[in-house]
């Protein structure tokens, strides 16, 4: 299918299935039930799943294939967001030009930063990219306030020109981002008995782009270019003595992955048209590293799973508070209930980082290949279970 091998085509179909049916998959519990707080099927969160999925897929093209660990990728996310918001301010509220500009701008910055940072490898490369990202953050936060809006961030205003659109709507409001008349925030609710499933225009737009981004990533992984990138990770000495300079290849990978980040940033601004400097902060760069490693660096679907898991925990575990805990453990005797709640409490609410940290440590120690390796081990274990069932029948034959 589409020039893919069977295994890759299956992976693509899985991603298509997951994204297209996400409103159902993420809302397994009926509205109003005690478990409803574990539902993640609301537009805002679903959009974040796919946007960070795109970000992580792009990051993985650099880190997973070449092994160059960039610690400043959030800078490209921020550049993408600012570019998109500027397009909304100056041109029109259509998301297509905004996203295109976001990708072009982040690509140009990636070319510049990559050209300088890729002179070094290993930890020095990581530190150089981190330094660049922090410089970008400082620029956006204070120095370039007229362009970036400084501390308050860049927002739309009623007097923006919007040459190809309207400065304000008929009702005197700021128009919202859309795609040829379809507004990104529009949703359609489907109620089946007590379940409510929300279908959001913005989410499906992002999901289609995720599928395209994932497809492109598969093609890159399986191409001669992808093979060269893996060769760079494996042995640069041999590559040098094969007459090749690794730099153009790593730079191309860096720019591609920067453009993926810019695309994610542009989509973020398209869902919610504002951009702030905090999007470029180093913790945001660290987050995408965690997503990729948690899911499985160098695997195709890993980064998407990692992004989903971290965003799910960030939004769902952080919402649990002590009252909810008390209601869960209400069946226990009073003293025991308080004791259990006191133990669990540090891991929920604002403590979700603690839970994430523990899960991350467990994954890195026991599943170095990330969640994907976990899945592979389960699959292998199931397969072995099956073959063992059939073996005894065969092995008894010679004995007779």
């Amino acid at each position: 299918m589409l020039g893919l091998k069977k295994k890759d085509a299956t992976l693509l179909l899985i991603v298509i299935g997951l994204t297209m049916f996400a409103p159902f998959i993420l809302n397994p519990f009926p509205d109003g039930s005690a478990m409803a707080q574990f539902n993640a099927g609301y537009p805002d969160l679903m959009q974040r799943f796919v946007i960070f999925g795109i970000f992580a897929i792009g990051f993985n093209i650099l880190f997973g294939l070449t092994g160059y660990l960039s610690f400043g990728h959030a800078a490209f996310l921020g550049i993408g967001s600012y570019s998109a918001v500027w397009m909304f301010k100056l041109l029109s509220m259509n998301v297509i030009p905004a996203i295109l500009l976001a990708m072009v701008m982040s690509g140009l910055f990636a070319l510049l930063i990559g050209f300088i940072s890729l002179r070094r490898s290993g930890i020095y490369f990581s530190i150089l990219t981190l330094a660049f990202a922090q410089m970008m953050f400082a620029l956006a936060y204070s120095v370039l306030t007229p362009i970036t809006g400084g501390e308050t961030g860049l927002q739309l205003a009623l007097d923006d020109p919007r040459v190809l659109g309207a400065s304000q709507t008929a009702g005197g409001n700021i128009p919202v981002p859309g795609l040829f008349g379809m507004e990104m925030r529009n949703s359609f609710d489907l109620a089946i008995s007590s379940w409510v499933f929300t279908f959001n225009v913005g989410y499906y737009f992002c999901a289609l782009i995720l599928i395209a981004a994932f497809y492109l990533a598969i093609r890159i992984f399986r191409s001669p270019f992808g093979m060269m990138l893996r060769a760079i990770k494996s042995n640069q000495t041999r590559l040098n003595y094969t007459g090749l300079n690794p730099r153009p290849y790593t730079l191309a990978a860096f720019v591609i992955s920067g453009m993926y980040a810019g695309l994610a940033g542009g989509l973020m601004a398209s869902m919610d048209p504002l951009a702030g400097a905090e999007r470029m902060f180093w913790t945001a760069s660290g987050e995408v590293v965690l997503m990729t490693i948690l899911g499985g660096a160098g695997t195709l679907i890993g980064p998407v799973l990692g992004a989903g898991m971290i965003k799910y925990m960030e939004n769902i575990i952080s919402k649990i508070n002590s009252d909810i805990l008390h209601s869960w453990f209400a069946f226990l005797p009073d003293g025991l209930e308080d004791f259990i709640v006191a133990i669990v409490y540090p891991f929920i609410g604002k403590g979700w980082h603690l839970t994430l940290g523990i899960i991350f440590m467990l994954v890195v120690i026991f599943l170095p290949g990330g969640l994907v390796e976990g899945g592979q081990r389960i699959a292998k274990w199931l397969k072995r279970g099956k073959t063992e069932d059939t073996k005894p029948g065969k092995s008894t034959e010679p004995a007779e």
């Binding site: 093609r219 191409s223 093979m227 893996r230 060769a231 590559l239 040098n240 003595y241 007459g243 191309a252």
Partner: protein
Amino acid sequence: MAILEVKDVGKRFGGLQALSDVQLSVKENSVHAIIGPNGAGKSTLLNCLVGKLIPDTGSVMFDGQSVLGRSPHEINQMGISRVFQTPEIFGDLSVMENMMIPCFARRDGAFRMHAIEDMMSEKDIVEKAEAMLEDMNMADKREMHAASMSRGDKRRLEIGMCLAQEPRLLLLDEPTAGMARADTNNTIDLLKQISDERDITIAIIEHDMHVVFSLANRITVLAQGTPLVEDNPENIRGNPKVREAYLGEAG
């Protein structure tokens, strides 16, 4: 005609004069061995030829062009391939992918993007890599993880990867070091076959006299950073100066 011409090369590391006044002339289509006791400067000389080190004095000409000041990948593009003492291969990749990389890079080292095409759809590259694996007798190992092979197979793959670039000069740095006798003999046969069948010059650094005398048709003996004698194998075998360098005064 000499394809590689080394003249008056000297290299000093701090207080140690590693090479001094080295003259070496490798004739086209010959197998030229460079031998010498430990610390004679064999590896330093090799590193000066491939651009890893830059000699302090002298000149290194390959096919009439100086290699000095060029980086390793540029020197490779001129037609010099190098086999390392410990095989340098792409351990994380499959044997087939290992072979495809030099076929893809050819020898010009040009940046080729090819980011969308499927690797296996590049017919000419796949065919060339398969033919080379066949030549190396490794066709049955094509899907193997390169790092999981034996030392001898890794060496065989590395030599194949170098040959895929169709170099004019193949440099080998102790190709049989740390190998079992059977692997050593296989490597000797392979190198013999290469020099017989291909239009190629081989320069080999070796410790193992069995390997040297079964392959070389010209030998340079290096001692304490300077060439002692250059001659054909028969004369080297009987040369008292060589015995002395290897075995000390008593020899």
